[in-house]
Amino acid sequence: MTSAILPSHGAPPSEEPAPDSGAEERPLGRRIGWRSPPNKLLSIVVVILGWQAIGLVNSRMHFYNPRLFPAPADIIQAAWALGQSGVLWIDILVSTWRVLEGVLFAAPVGIALGMAVGRIRWFEDSVEPIIELLRPIPPLALLPMIILWFGIGEASKVFFIAYSCFFVFFTTVVVGVRNIDSVLLRAGQSLGLSWLQQQRFIIVQAVLPDIMLGLRLSLSVGFLVIVAAEFIAADTGLGYLINYSRTWFRVADMLVGAICIGLLGVASNYTLVALERRMFQWRAAAQ
């Protein structure tokens, strides 16, 4: 998972499978008989078909209770039903919206504090120790308290996500600011850039890739933690769907909820990776 989320930084240029590159220069005696690289989509299809096959065999032989481990076709059926009734779409929208709200609140605070701590000694000495003390505490451990503070309405869930994502923005921005080559700042000074111009033309430009990385990571953190918040205190959302279905032994519905969260995570990650490629052409294929 980390490798899917973290690339862009020092990723080698040839991450995309180069079409047919292996055809002529394939070293002798290696990978004979295999198309290289293997088709990623194909392996997913194979797993799903295998799972369905096990389900089909089980429906005749009854190794296990199919209600507890439904086959892909049952899950698709459940998803169709949930989609038809409209519940699924509402849950997806509600969960996504909560994550976006939380990230939106976390971003300015995390970025501003990260820049201040990375650039200003006073902030580094006074603010960073406190944040480093809070950071190792799993946000989930604070969730019951947050619910006591903010009640079981939207506020508690948005605050919880914002709190979890704050650390992601903060950490990526602090690292980004600290990694700015000091010779670039000197160059800016001797070119006559004012303090404000240095922030605009150097600091922000240099940290922008880290901010985008922070955004991407905090979206995946957001989808990771939203479920727990919706388990405890919600009457909508994908987490609620999962937890509610448990009461009725509807494992297929639970899996629909889980798969939707996974797909949302994948979609946001891919969208942002594509956006970053467009935004930061100056660093593409570096090294």
Binding site: R186, A187, L191, G192, F201
Partner: protein
Amino acid sequence: MPKEPKLSFEHVSKAYPSRRGEARRLAVEDVTLNIEEGHFVCLLGPSGCGKSTLLNMAAGFILPTSGRILVDAKEIAGPGIDRGVVFQEYALFPWYTALQNVELGPRAKGMPAAARRALAERYLAMVGLTDHIHKYPRELSGGMKQRAAIARTLANEPRIMLMDEPFGALDAQTREGLQDQLLDIWSATRTTIVFVTHSINEAVLLSDEVAILAAHPGRLIHTVRNRLPRPRSRTSADVVELEREIYDQRYLAESRRAAE
């Protein structure tokens, strides 16, 4: 009447705080040096002689521990656009194209877009980068990066160019090409240039004056006026002769130091 120096170091020393209570480490000890307007002066010395420290103090990036640095008889207070700096590591902004890098100085001054674009294109043409103005630094070779960086410094039209081993990271052939190009630029603009190098040959080839520095502590041991006619050939007898002279002086200074 002697002309007032463009840039002068007056009894400049720089000490860095020591580790574990040893005596403070002197990077530069009592350097006095006057640089005339329009001159090309090389600071020549081994590593640890404080030549880059001197340049960084002249640029205003660091403050001397004692002594003063004056430009036009006025003590400097921090970096300024009257002194353009060229760094060994190029220091181009990687998120800007060559053109945007060169435009940045004029842009910071508030020059209108069309004017600064024309200015930047003129200086990029001067360093022979007309075909590469829209490339990002990562797409440029080392020599092209340094030419872009020189163009960026020139576009601010500084009165003094401070160059910190600008060709130190380049291969020999590229370095020679850039040396010739720099001399062309210098004769066209007549900017005062202070050029840090550890290569005696480079110093003799480029400069009007060579300030010879020694290390530990960094100090000025001698200045040599270089009146060899230009253009100079890298292998001509008089160039080699002056190189030997400088070499001997450095050698003498070191052995005198060792005997003490």
